[in-house]
């Protein structure tokens, strides 16, 4: 009998390890025959890309694409870590969401992990086909690091049935002054609000800030959320969510509140809400009972003839510098974003209009949508697409959002106690203090 020198337990562990190792050795993971790998966080995109694979293979037999869905947070952490450490585990193509793209632009330009696609966009003529302001989001120091997937113009969605029963004529609500006036008549505190507005986070405020031509940063990366536009927007916004004349409320932000948002909408807690194209499909999916009871209208303007839309959200497709065959990746990205069948399928599923102007004539974007009271949803969003304001990305945008949120809370608290007395001065101070905090980080963190 053979006696293992270190006892029975280590012998068992050793045998188990050898068996497991041997099994893995004999059953290696099937080697992927893909020559391009695409990472995306969006399930709807993944579905559309997988559906487009046969057509892609037909059009480009040399492309063998593997599409991988990775959770939003995990995708960004893994990709950033890969960039920082030069790990080989980088995808060839990747979709990046607007809220985190700024992080990838930190540091010297030559160290950005994405390929600058501007030369290819210009050479292929795509540059002139895309809504120009949409390219601003994905641009940094003269380079364009992704193909935009969307435009995401914003409209107001509303409960048409309730608005009709209350005698609200939405055509007359073409300025915010008129909208607010109507809102004060139809809001019943605690029971029904004219519009869903975020009270403490900047989701709604930034939408109005963009509509007025403001933002967090300008095209050169300077902090601008303490400029006169921001002060005026804050002064206009806070009374809408605070005090007796309020017309807006929210259920908090994010996924937790979103679960109950649809219930609130069905119960008539909100009459109107900010609705970029992507959100309209969510309403269709999660509140099917509201079919035929909903409608859309352009956002009221801040002055007659002013901009009647804003922008919210966005995704780009980038090619990583680690990609071995960038030509192949480029033609694949273009195919996925521009092939008419895929676009049609994608629009029917997501209501998202593409950023390519020449695609807007396709019939699918001009079909009436029964859920939205027979309105031609695509056509309505397309009508606003060229008016969207630019939204500049920046490595410090997350910090800036947090600081603007702090200023919003401070202003809300001030207004609830003091009303409009000294309010503008307080706004100026709060915004300047917040913006200076971002400048402090900016000054420290820039290595050019």
């Amino acid at each position: 009998m053979i006696i293992f020198p270190f006892g029975k337990a280590p012998a068992v562990i050793l045998v188990a390890a050898l068996l497991a190792g041997g099994w893995l050795l004999l059953h290696p993971r099937g080697k992927e025959d893909a020559n391009l790998v695409l990472w995306s966080f969006a399930k709807t995109h993944i579905t559309a890309y997988n559906q487009a694979l046969p057509a892609l293979n037909h059009a480009y037999p040399d492309v063998k694409l593997s599409v991988k869905q990775i959770h939003f947070e995990a995708l960004n952490r893994r990709l950033l870590s890969s960039f920082w450490s030069d790990l080989p585990s980088q995808p060839d193509l990747v979709e990046i969401e607007i809220s985190c793209v700024g992080t990838y632009f930190k540091g010297p330009k030559e160290q950005i992990g994405f390929e600058d696609l501007k030369p290819r966009l210009v050479e292929s003529g795509m540059y002139n086909r895309i809504v120009r302001n949409r390219l601003a989001t994905w641009s940094n120091r003269g380079g364009i690091y992704g193909i935009p997937n969307d435009v995401h113009p914003v409209m107001l969605a509303y409960r048409r049935d309730i608005a009709d029963s209350l005698g609200i004529c939405v055509d007359s609500l073409y300025t915010w002054d008129r909208f607010i006036e109507a809102g004060r008549r139809f809001t019943v505190e605690g029971e029904r609000y004219m519009i869903e507005l975020n009270e403490q986070n900047v989701g709604s405020l930034e939408c109005f800030l963009f509509q007025r031509g403001g933002g967090y940063f300008d095209s050169l990366g300077n902090v601008i959320f303490d400029n006169p536009v921001a002060v005026a927007t804050m002064e206009w916004f806070v009374p809408l969510v605070t005090g007796k004349g309020r017309i807006g409320a929210d259920l908090g932000s994010g996924q937790n509140a979103a679960v109950l948002f649809y219930k609130a909408l069905e119960e008539g807690y909100y009459l109107f809400f900010i609705c970029p194209d992507w959100r309209s499909s969510f309403i269709q999916e999660y509140s099917p009972r509201l079919a035929g009871k909903m409608a859309l209208m352009p956002m009221p303007a801040f002055y007659p003839g002013g901009r009647r839309t804003s922008t919210q959200g966005g995704t780009m497709m980038a090619i990583t510098k680690a990609c071995k065959d960038k030509d192949k990746a480029w033609k694949t990205a273009l195919f996925l974003y521009t092939n008419p069948e895929g676009r049609s399928r994608s629009f029917k599923k997501t209501n998202i209009i593409p950023p390519f102007r020449d695609a807007w004539t396709e019939p699918v974007f001009h079909e009436p949508n029964a859920f939205w009271s027979g309105q031609k949803l695509g056509e309505m969003y397309i009508g606003l697409a060229d008016s969207i304001p630019p939204q500049y990305s920046n490595p410090f945008v997350v910090l800036a959002k947090g600081k603007l949120s702090q200023a919003l809370v401070s202003c809300t608290q001030y207004y609830s106690v003091n009303g409009s007395s000294g309010f503008r001065d307080h706004i100026r101070k709060a915004l300047t203090a917040s913006a200076d905090e971002v400048r402090k980080y900016q000054k420290r963190g820039l290595i050019e």
């Binding site: 030069d86 932000s253 910090l399």
Partner: protein, 298 residues
């Protein structure tokens, strides 16, 4: 032959301990020791983007101690830790004492029930409570509405964010700590209680002079682990507040501050500095806790 056997015998006895601890040492060196040393070095650099770093000496620490967000994070974390120690632990101890009574009907069911939230994990609990705390439509506010007609904005009101987090953590962790206390209570000899009763000790005296000394080592351990755990608060708040520090940074914790600096702003050097300050802070707090509770005197 015998010489060969004796050499083999010596080899077995001398090498065996090292072989047994080798897997741990190797893993520890790769995944703990190296990152620990690397992070200490990084703490003296600003890192920006993939490969850029500049030696800045103590500037990361200087910047941190001048940053109001750091103090906000420390304040929030300390308040949460105090909530954990002074709310959670008494509740856990109370439940343990209650469920330690042999005559208590259904005690095994309640032991399992109180412990079960911990099995769900903090992310699930955060999602669950995120929905429960929704104003107007959330279950918590529906219950509150029975008594007061107010719509409480638990996660939107900066003043209520921390209480909401402490309440959630109470539900999540009270059962786990109860199990520790329960195990400790069961190790206190019954004869001591009988002797105390003979001496005329009432319930309070029995607790102070029999129970507490008996469970003190475990209590010290639970207090320390709760404090350290509280200072590591991240995923519960992060998920509940929808991947943000909440309104007016009301839910910003030290780890969240570290995470944002390292993985959102991309400054791993600053994040390392925060990590080392947290480590030193926890070391000091643990030392004082051990000193105060007398754990060092043995």
């Amino acid at each position: 032959m015998s010489k060969r056997i004796s050499r083999w015998h010596i080899f077995r006895h001398t090498s065996a301990p090292y072989l047994f601890i080798a897997p741990f040492i190797i893993m520890f060196a790769i995944f703990y020791l190296y990152p620990l040393i690397k992070s200490l070095i990084l703490a003296f650099y600003i890192t920006v983007g993939p490969k850029s770093k500049i030696f800045v000496g103590f500037d990361n620490f200087r910047f941190m101690f001048h940053d109001p967000d750091f103090y906000r994070a420390v304040r929030n974390t300390v308040l949460y830790a105090l909530g954990s120690v002074f709310v959670q632990l008494p509740v856990s101890l109370g439940l343990a004492i209650l469920l330690n009574r042999s005559k208590y009907p259904g005690r095994n069911f309640f032991r399992f029930s109180f412990f079960s939230p911990y099995m769900f994990g903090s992310v699930f609990v955060a999602v669950l409570f995120g929905v429960l705390f929704v104003p107007h439509f959330g279950l918590v506010n529906k219950l509150v509405a029975f008594f007061y007609s107010v719509d409480i904005k638990w996660l939107s009101n900066p003043k209520l964010v921390l209480p909401a987090l402490i309440l959630t953590a109470l539900w999540l962790y009270a059962g786990l700590n109860m199990i520790y206390f329960l195990a400790a209570l069961q190790s206190v000899p019954k004869e001591l209680y009988e002797a105390a009763r003979v001496d005329g000790a009432n319930a309070l005296h029995q607790f102070l002079h029999v129970t507490w000394p008996g469970i003190k080592p475990v209590a010290v351990f639970v207090i320390m682990m709760s404090t350290i755990g509280s200072f590591q608060l991240f995923e519960l708040a992060w998920v509940m507040l929808d991947s943000s520090p909440g309104p007016d940074n009301a839910g910003l914790t030290i780890i969240m501050y570290l995470y944002q600096s390292g993985f959102v702003s991309g400054d791993l050097g600053y994040a390392s500095a925060i990590g080392w300050v947290l480590t030193c802070g926890l070391g000091i707090i643990s030392f004082f806790q051990m000193k105060v509770t007398g754990a060092l005197s043995k």
